[in-house]
């Protein structure tokens, strides 16, 4: 429901953004304009996502398939599965993120939509933050689904409180993956062999996200006797913060013609 509202707002917002950028005092009114433009880009992506629901469902399904595959690879021993659950969850998120990030720019490559977007007087920063927010949102949606799947597949014994923490942490991990992922997907989508290239450059970069979220999820599910959850969450947040700022600086250079 909110999606369709966002969709309805696209045109109005996009026009608003255009007016802002064209004005001579772009620097002065930038704050409000930027937020509105980010909203417009985000709304556009959500609308596209909603119209292509099959793609959305396919990515979620892919995450579930990955989780199932991990249990086959690890064997049927419940103790092993329980111990591996945090890692499997994060790996499923990472693999799905590759698909989601690649898709989010493949859409723009069709019909040279990216060139069209860049011709619009929209701040390229808005393009980055809108895209990255869209990807974060999308990957965050995977969290609850995969968490439920993990509870079923791996017999994870977690209370309601732990699941809530898990979902919140998942959002932070999704944000950490999305910022560098959006930056790199913008580049690789226009290079040769994009499907090989994106994971090749993205995975080594997000190893801190992988390590920190596996550790943090492990602490959430299996208890945190030494109170380490805070530092791992801080590391995740620090990573996300670093790349959300860096991506904003570098993305306009990455997409310029």
């Amino acid at each position: 429901m909110s999606l369709s509202q966002g969709g309805a707002g696209v045109e109005g917002r996009a026009h608003g953004g255009r007016g802002e950028a064209r004005g001579p005092v772009q620097g002065g009114s930038r704050g409000g304009g930027l937020v509105r433009e980010i909203g417009a880009v985000l709304a556009k992506d959500l609308l596209l996502e909603w119209r292509g629901r099959a793609r959305l469902l396919a990515t979620v399904l892919f995450g579930v398939v990955a989780l199932a595959l991990f249990s086959f690879a690890a064997g049927a021993d419940p103790a092993v599965l329980d111990r591996g659950a945090p890692g499997f969850l994060v790996l499923a998120l990472l693999l799905s993120s590759t698909l989601a990030l690649g898709e989010s720019f493949r859409v723009e490559q069709e019909d040279s939509a990216m060139e069209g977007l860049l011709l619009l007087p929209i701040d390229p920063h808005a393009l980055f933050y809108g895209k990255a927010l869209g990807n974060t949102l999308f990957l965050s949606l995977l969290g609850p689904v995969l968490a439920v799947a993990a509870v079923v597949f791996y017999a994870v014994d977690a209370g309601a409180m732990a699941l809530v923490k898990l979902v919140l942490l998942w959002v932070l991990a999704a944000a950490g993956l999305s910022a560098p992922g959006t930056l790199y997907a913008a580049m690789t989508s226009r290079a040769r062999s994009q499907d090989v290239l994106l994971p090749l450059v993205h995975y080594p970069l997000v190893i801190p996200v992988l390590l920190a979220s596996v550790k943090a999820i492990d602490l959430i599910l299996n208890g945190d006797p030494m109170g380490q959850l805070g530092s791992w969450t801080a590391l995740l947040a620090g990573f996300a913060l670093a790349y959300w700022s860096l991506g904003g600086v570098l993305f306009p250079l990455a997409v310029e013609e």
Partner: protein, 239 residues
């Protein structure tokens, strides 16, 4: 400058070779065996310099990448690529030396429990990605911009990866270099560090020159292959 630089780099290279021979001689035959590690400690005299200079090359690459984005002069792009590649070469040597050090000291070739070993492997993956990305882009202006962006992005990750791996393995920390070093051990290490530094300088200069010539010949040979208005503007700046 194009005339003077190869000469300077050749001097640097020769100096590197001489120093490396001298430092290695001291490290292999003059320095005493270490109290716990015995003769195996001699690996450290090439291992630690490789680590230092590899990281230094990546740091240079970061600086060159910023200059490349700032000025848009292709020279900085060539230097960025050269520094990343030389950093990777030293990084690979570092990894092999690390494994040759791990085997006699811990009885294994590889351990995820040693922070430095894991960290240097991740560095290799990070910067190898930069060169991989570069290899898949044809337009020179875009290739330069993207190389610089990827280098900066990878370099910012270095401290994050380091702390992450350290916390991850904090309970299994192993001692991988001797804590106390007497002067006889410091000297070969320092000499070798300068040796590798001079060699790296030579390599970077030659590699940048290679990249410059490659781009020149691409521009001469296939002027029709430039597809976009943006890249024509880009090459215009370069000329």
């Amino acid at each position: 400058m194009p005339v003077a630089r190869p000469r300077l780099s050749t001097v640097s290279g020769l100096l590197g070779v001489v120093l490396l021979l001298a430092g290695s001689y001291l490290g292999l035959f003059v320095a005493p065996p270490e109290r716990h590690m015995g003769d195996v400690v001699r690996i450290v005299y090439v291992h630690v310099p490789s680590a230092w200079i590899s990281m230094l090359c990546y740091t240079f690459a970061f600086g060159f990448a910023i200059a490349s984005l700032w000025t848009r002069r292709p020279r900085w792009d060539h230097l960025t690529t050269a520094a990343v590649e030389v950093g990777i070469v030293l990084n690979v040597l570092l990894l092999v030396q690390g494994m040759l050090f791990a085997r006699p000291t811990w009885g294994i070739w590889w351990t995820w429990a040693d922070v430095r070993l894991v960290f240097s492997f991740l560095m290799f993956l990070l910067f190898a990605g930069v060169l991989a990305l570069r290899a898949f882009v044809d337009d020179p202006a875009r290739r330069g911009t993207w190389t610089a962006i990827a280098t900066i992005t990878a370099f910012v990750d270095v401290p994050l990866v380091y702390y992450c791996v350290r916390w991850w393995r904090s309970l299994h920390q192993m001692q991988s270099t001797p804590e106390t070093m007497d002067a006889a051990m410091k000297l070969p290490m320092r000499i070798n560090a300068f040796a590798v530094l001079f060699l790296a300088g030579w390599f970077i200069a030659r590699r940048a020159e290679l990249e410059r010539r490659r781009q020149e010949i691409d521009e001469v040979a296939e002027p029709a292959a430039i597809p976009r208005a943006g890249s024509i503007a880009g090459t215009g700046v370069e000329a």
